[in-house]
Amino acid sequence: MSAVHFVLLAPLLGSIALALVPYRRAAALGNVAVSAATLASSLSLFVVEPYRGTLLFVDDFNIYLVVLTAFVAFTTSLFSSSYIAHEVETGRLTPNELRFYHAMYQAFVLTLLLALVANNLGLMWVAVEGATLTTALMVGLYRTHEAIEAAWKYFILCGVGIALALFGTILMYLAAQPVMGAGLAAMAWTELLGPVAQMDPTILNLAFVFLLIGYGTKVGLAPLHAWLPDAHAEGPTPISAVLSGLLLNVALYAVLRFKMLLASNEGVIAPGPLMISMGLSSLLLGSVMLYRRRDIKRMFAYSSIEHMGIITFAFGMGGAFANFAGLLHMTMHSLTKSAIFFAVGHIAQVKGTQKIADISGLTASHPALGWGLVLGVVAIAGLPPLGIFMSEFLVLTSTMARQPLLAIPLVLGLLLGFGALILRLQSVAFGPPSGRTGPVTASLLPLYAHLVLVLIAGLYLPPPLVAWFQTVARLLG
């Protein structure tokens, strides 16, 4: 047993145990405890020898995503316990649904972590498929018309997406098998990296196209993003937070691993331009769509499309500098977007609505919550001195230096998104308060914890972290 096994074992056992606990308080506490255990064991990965087995492995790249995933899963479980308490009081969830919800939450975290540490294309695919299944079930949890439609759309679109990714995986194996022989080694990341240079480049090309479309559907890249806004808007808000903060990252991680593989083969098409064009179209689409949103959760879902576009663009540019910016943006976006969903979840519960038109004057009626949202939106819009400003600035300068023409659509998309967010923020946060003004009983600790981290990252990045990101950025090629 190594530390990496404990990282997987905690959510696995937690999921089984939580499926059996009928008491609401105990289940919510248990969920937090299991997430804390997962976080603790993920942190221990830093101190033990990097694990490298036939099925699982830990390297500089995935360790940082594992810790980020475990951290956001932990803070979201804190948020979830107060969110769920309210949902049970208002009768939106029955005890059975609650048990199901907690078990699925841990199962979802398990699949994400497994996808990250899997040293095998097939195992990673099974994990991503599991993540699709668990989230589709949770999106449909409320059983309203909209929730069922969202879950159906999610299942159909992402089902097709992962099916195409599997075809790409099979093609990958087909390319590897003549060089490496049959067996597990021909599907392991660590083993493939060397021999990939001798593989047939045409099969690799075809495989990458399938993989980019397949996993790209789960990243929410345009034009494959149709499931994302519905899934974010209709499910429970903790799920929106982990969808945006974690699932999109994990899907992108899969794409990046394949990009790393292809980089070692000279004959293949460069994956960069494909990723740049998908990234830019997601950025532009996401920021334009921000303008006409009437539902607050749906609006921030489009903002996630926008930011995943920026990140994909940065990795598509490649090179140590752009990769560094991409990694930083991935982290900052996870923290900020989940913080925003924490705030939005409480707001929707206090106000009893998700309609932007019915929410106003939050800073007057609920100062702590309102200012939390203001901070989050200011951060996500990319204003200094918060972390996202830094990463967007880095993306922009590296683009300016290498492909100045691409900077035009990039800046356009960033400005459009900025305008839309500030416009909506004014009506929601300021002005005379409207609607219900009952007090917020929930703890705002997770929200502010994330915001403080984003603020610190914007002001000062610790040198060890910078060194770490630089190592990973070089690894990404």
Partner: protein, 223 residues
């Protein structure tokens, strides 16, 4: 008993080709029960293909994949869908978004596309694998086509599972691929959850029809 290369080649081709043929059969059904029987038959042939690969390539783990295809997809799922259709009183006609003739023409061109795409790309691979891959990509594309052109939720699920049959056909045909069993099990779990656990009963609770276009009226922003 040892088999000659040409016997292996011929039988594999026969089974793979039959799976593709049944994909076309799925497209021209006008009645829901016809769709279910065609799907059951396709899964049966897939089970045979998997078992044949297990036998011919001496890969016993593929018998498990064959078993899953046989028990789960040939028997249990079609029966369950049959029950759902009967008990919930769903329309027994297939509702199409694109006429049957047009669908078949598009389907034939998709199959041609798959062959044109795969054969040149995999020129260096072993012959058997190439053709198997071309046939299974055709099955995948036809499954996609079915999901797009059929409105009813039952036919969409059948389309998804037929797409999945194509993927499994590709996976069992590539020699020595690991994780095939896990992959087929993961698909089975996904479909089982979707079908039995949640969607059908919930959709039924709210709507009188499983016609997805009806569900889609609720699309978009809340007003």
């Amino acid at each position: 008993m040892t088999l000659s290369e040409s016997t292996i080649y011929d039988v594999t081709h026969l089974l793979d080709g039959t799976v593709l043929l049944l994909s076309f059969a799925l497209l021209y059904q006008r009645r829901l029960f016809g769709v279910l029987s065609a799907f059951a038959l396709q899964s049966l042939v897939l089970a045979l293909a998997a078992a044949w690969q297990a036998f011919a390539n001496d890969a016993p783990h593929l018998y498990i994949t064959a078993g899953i295809a046989l028990f789960f997809k040939t028997i249990i799922i079609p029966l369950a869908l049959h029950r759902i259709v009967v008990n919930l009183g769903i329309h027994r006609e297939v509702e199409t978004a694109l006429g049957i003739g047009a669908t078949l023409i598009v389907g034939a061109s998709l199959a041609a596309l798959a062959i044109v795409l795969v054969l040149p790309v995999t020129a260096a691979s072993v012959a058997l694998t190439r053709e198997n891959l071309a046939l299974s990509l055709s099955v995948v594309l036809l499954g996609l086509l079915m999901m797009i052109t059929r409105r009813n939720a039952v036919t969409q699920v059948v389309g998804f599972m037929s797409l999945e049959n194509g993927l499994l056909l590709a996976a069992v045909g590539v020699r020595g691929m690991p994780f095939v069993v896990e992959i087929s099990a993961a698909f089975a779990v996904m479909v089982a959850f979707i079908i039995f656990g949640v969607f059908f009963f919930q959709i039924r609770e709210r709507f009188d029809t499983l016609d997805v276009s009806y569900v889609e009226r609720f699309r978009g922003e809340r007003h």
